[in-house]
Amino acid sequence: MSDNLVQIRDLSFTYGDRMVLQGINLNARRGQVVAIMGNSGCGKTTLMRLIGGQVRPSAGQILVDGISVGALELHELYDLRRRMGMLFQFGALFTDMTVYDNVAFQLREHTDLSEPMIRDLVLMKLQAVGLRGAQDLMPSELSGGMARRVALARAVALDPMLMMYDEPFAGLDPISLGVIGNLIRRLTDTLGMTSLVVTHDIQESLKIVDYVYFISEGVIEAEGTPAEIKASGLPYVHQFVHGEMDGPVPFHYPSPTYLTDLGLTQ
């Protein structure tokens, strides 16, 4: 058994004529929280969809627990996905079900457990995210942070080996932000999972992750532990970590010079 739960080798992905990802090499060790960072539209969400098998790579290989995701038949892919969980950006809770039914959903669909057993498991997961008291609410009655915690409880209902999080910090208040960050770390440790966090929230994620990959324009620009990243001298990483306005990622959208646009030069 390899130490790495996720291994990505020379992965490329093109969408139409556009090269979205190119030559990606990435490992996620078992039990670790690994962050994939980059600015919006850099291809990090696509990378997660590739790992989940929702899209297939144009070249290269993705191994999850030693299984090559891109080569699977649909039913094999579904078998693998039962051992994966995913937290979507805004939770993606089923809006016609209560919180309880959302968390119970996978248990009812994929197992033959009795209702009392399912109830115990659902309450355990809801307790872990602190929302046992909200079990009868509908998703429309939850705040953004609460919805994401319910979605987290739903995603880990079957105790997956791999959890993926799509922008788990986007649009949250500071308290919810800390809560979600802590939950990711705690659940990863207590459930023995491996976590992949796709995010652009540098400050929050550096507190909880073990390793970071930086993606820019579809290639990995930098990688390292949080301490290495903070100390990095690479211009792109420096700009990202310090939130600087201008740098390798320019402030201005490509354009002719200002003077030319104003008609002040020939």
Binding site: Q54, Y78, R81, M86, F90, A92, F94, T95, Q106, E109
Partner: protein, 265 residues
């Protein structure tokens, strides 16, 4: 001049290709829905829930419209029949108009705007809020779990709604013709009973409404599933569902009628 013409032709060509392509995608979608219908029948409560959403929730609009359409038929029919002194045939006129044409067609048009638009909006929003992706990541096929139950729920509901529309319409015709205008009650019912044929009129009406049900539901589900995952995309898809399925109902009605009622009666 030539350039403008070529440009117009190119645009027309692109539109035709696009339309044919979407038709192909919709056919493929229908085949997939049928292939993955197993879950719907193994767990029939999924379908029952959709019969409630599409059928039961459309009941009010169907029943009230049926009553009014029947009452108008009663009034108009009485006016014309009275000229020839054959008011007793009012029952036949009302019943045949409803069972053969107005029942299936008007009920289907109402169903498209009430249930069809709701289905498109729901599926479109499920896609926009990543609920369909979430299902996929939970190793569940969205077509089997979300699309197929809605398909069968709506297809089962449609003929029943059309039948209720017709029954309500006949009652409306009775109210206006017999109770209000004084047509002989015995003649109203007995002539109706003698003239309406079970095979040629009622069964054909049911077949029509079943075909409309399949068309509306397929269009509604496909538009929702195919909608761009944005507010604008979902709203456009909902509009397209109502427009396309209304046109499909009327066109299919002509085709079906021309096969069914050639030389009958």
């Amino acid at each position: 001049m030539m350039e403008g013409l070529a440009h117009g032709l190119r645009k027309l060509g692109a539109r035709v290709v696009d339309a044919v392509w979407r038709l192909g995608m919709a056919s493929r979608f229908l085949v997939l829905t049928l292939i993955y219908s197993g879950t719907s029948f193994r767990r029939f409560q999924l379908v029952i829930k959709e019969v409630f959403n599409s059928g039961v929730l459309s009941l009010i609009i169907i029943l009230v419209s049926g009553l009014f359409v029947g009452m108008v038929l009663g009034l108009q029919g009485y006016e014309t029949l009275q000229t020839y002194g054959s008011e007793e045939a009012l029952g036949v006129l009302v019943a045949l108009s409803l069972v053969r044409e107005l029942g299936p067609v008007v009920a289907a048009l109402l169903f498209a705007s009430r249930a069809g638009s709701a289905i498109t909006a729901e599926i479109g929003l499920m896609k926009a809020t990543e609920q369909l992706s979430a299902l996929e990541m939970m190793a569940l096929n969205p077509i089997a779990r979300v699309i197929a139950p809605r398909f069968w729920g709506a297809v089962i509901s449609m003929p029943m709604l059309a039948a209720m529309f017709s029954a309500m319409g006949v009652f409306g015709g009775y109210l206006v013709g017999v109770v209000l205008l004084g047509v002989d009650e015995g003649a109203f019912w007995s002539q109706m009973q003698a003239a309406v044929d079970f095979r040629d009129d009622i069964v054909n009406g049911i077949i029509k409404s079943a075909v409309f049900g399949v068309a509306i539901t397929l269009i509604a589900l496909f538009e929702g599933y195919d909608a761009p995952p944005t507010a604008e995309g979902v709203s456009r898809a909902t509009t397209r569902t109502v427009v396309t399925s209304s046109l499909a109902i009327l066109a299919l009605d002509f085709v079906l009628t021309s096969f069914m009622f050639r030389g009958v009666g």
